[in-house]
Symmetry: D3
Subunit: 174 residues, 6 copies
């Protein structure tokens, strides 16, 4: 049995890892589907697809989960939401169930008779990507919510500085 | 050191696997970049990205190469070839060298000061995707050029029948 | 004489039908042009083009207006508003006048020397698609603003539930 | 029961009308889906979507078939053939069966468990759009293959001259 | 030495001209790159690319700067910001330095090892396109911030009326 | 009076310059519209928009024609040829007449009541871009058909080698 775990992973944090491990108890293999694959350098989506694959890959490698996990990119489909399920089937290897908490995704997947399951939250208030990006921006403690491999990588690419520049820009254009 | 191995893998055959193993002797990790990711159901590109990931993943799993290989999709960039290198950098984790035999890719990559190396051929006359697709179409012996995991998968999705239908269609529209 | 009646029809309501009948007194045939044809599953555009054609078709059939009405879809043209009039001419049969209340459309059509007329409102405060979607969302009385054929169809596709799910989603992403 | 009749209708000829009447004996309503809706001014696709709707509409009006036929446009979906069925479901009202002779369409529709039926040919050698366009180009007798309403319309828009200009152009660019 | 001066020039005002002359003291030639080239008829981007080229061209002609200035259009690259530098290199003649105050552009250009310099402001509070558009909308004195050639042109195309219509529209759709 | 001179200029040769000078006798100003602006690195379109602007600019500068010539880029509009005239009007400053020999362009422009004039050929057999590209590929004498400024630039970017690489590639993919 194979599951598809959909998220944007901006960035991939310990809540995601916790959920992944929970899924690996219920499925033989998990496809990690990185949504909004084509977007980067915005406040909600600061990291490129390549950077998000890098983060997740380093964690899989460290945790020795690579034998049961496949990472893929899932680009958005503009305004034609109704073709999104067909896109996923085209860009992903076969799966038996989808793990997601997004209400629109759930509605669209069910319409096509695909099994859907919610993702369990692990202390959602803190372990949320929105919260982590906010803390990064404000120079507040953010490293504790991430796997050491991700922290190290985000420091390598100077993530907090990038977020501040993007934020500065988007504020100005408002 | 990490290399990027670019191909269309329509389908992934034993020549590709031979080349991959050759690269793994020269680099710590190999990113397998599946080109023309958005195309499928044409004679030159019969398989979807998801199907190509599936083929490669099954081989990696069987050969226990998953700890050093990352599979990614690389969509084409229409007619604006000059942005292709920027696309690759966006959609791929970091790499130090690119393995490809495509002259346009080599020219574009060198223009951006990226290291490039040729892919060694392993009996190219037979182990070429074009040759294998031709044999599939003509019901000639094609299974011997593929890893057993790929053969099994192509039978599961009834690949030869798909090729004949597409061929029939494209001939008609010519 | 043929008129083009442009709207988004999210959903098609009795105010639209009233306007259509008013136009049919002034023109031999009316083309009903469904704008933002490519968008669906958003708060302002919950229904697909196919669903909007279905609503309008059922009303035309019930009211026996099919001999003088042609339904067409009109996709948006991204940010290049200045090509929009050329799009309309490409996607629509010939017309002599356009009925619309949209100021940008009026400006662009007049720039190309096309006759434009306003659409008369029929109790606009209540008979507006925005108002009807709001009432659907809040489970307030919405059926009275719609033709019985549309009401029946919207119940078939469970429209109020869809609106609440989309609303829930967009609220979350804000 | 409702059927979807897919064609490009470049132009709509008597073979299409014969097929339409055959379908109307088997279904309550027929949706006439105009494929490659976005293409025009090429040798294989000389007429715009609006012009093709105009041809078909005039025939439906003359033949009083408007109470059971719905005309829609179906744009192509680039190279991502696998999303095409989802597109059709989005852009078309509901249907129970699809009438088409295109092998790729048949394969893609069956993959999604949609009923498909072939379109019966009526003297295919002569009543084919390719043959009619060829005769138009060569100033050979072409009017006898078309409904008088279509003939009249094609003369209005000076169709043979357009074909010759396009042919001239494409030949030059080869 | 050649510089690339990037702006949206909605409209081109005296602050821009001041900056251009400042750059022409530091470089042999200046490429004037008109950003967001594909957008028009919005509040932030009311003028088409053609109209912006017209404004700038008239000023260059009047000021006899045409022997050292090249005007080009630079379309946006959707959400894939990371390919923007490659776009610029494709659509622009060669340059040695970029003049811009946009933080995201600066970050992306520096990532590709391109020299960047800030544009000096000339009384930024008044000489800003946002301020000028606001005054046009409110019928406040706006002509004094523009070159007489631009003022004359904006009156020719009835710019203040266009702004009010667009503003009216966008307010309504909010 | 202002004319629009449309060509692809792959590359800009002495026949083009001859035609430009002929037009400058008939019009006050000439807009040089570079068609297929988005394409490059193909056999028919080897040079980027930026490179083509560079060639033309150097000739204008050398010939001191910059006070009466405006260079612009004109991207293609996919398959929707019917919006092409609207595109041109959006991306170009105002013009009174178009100079082109392309039959489709002539047909589309006349449909919109725009004045069109043919471009006089100057020894067309030799002074054609197709012929020049062919000679470059075959290492035959090509420099004599080009302005010395263009020849120098094409040598700078190593144009003949690029053509051979592209040709090699396209041959292989056939």
């Amino acid at each position: 049995m194979r599951g598809l775990f959909i998220g944007r992973f901006q960035p991939f944090h310990l809540g995601h890892l916790y959920a992944l491990k929970w899924m690996l108890k219920r499925a033989d293999e998990i496809i990690i589907g990185i949504g909004s694959a084509q977007i980067s350098y915005t406040i909600r989506n600061p990291f490129t697809l390549g950077e998000r694959i890098e983060m997740i890959w380093r964690v899989l490698r460290y945790e020795k989960l690579y034998d049961r996990c496949i990472i893929i990119g899932l680009p958005d489909t503009d305004e034609i939401h109704t073709t999104w399920v067909a896109y996923i089937k085209t860009f992903s290897p076969k799966f038996d169930i989808v793990f997601t908490n997004d209400p629109l995704s759930i509605m669209l997947l069910k319409r096509e008779n695909i099994s859907v399951s919610n993702i369990p939250f692990f202390n959602r208030k803190n372990f949320s990507a929105t919260n982590i990006r906010k803390k990064m921006l404000e120079n507040d403690a953010w490293r504790k919510y991430l796997h050491p491999e991700v922290t190290k990588y985000l420091d390598e690419i100077n993530a907090p500085q990038r977020l501040r520049m993007i934020c500065n820009l988007e504020g100005k254009n408002k």
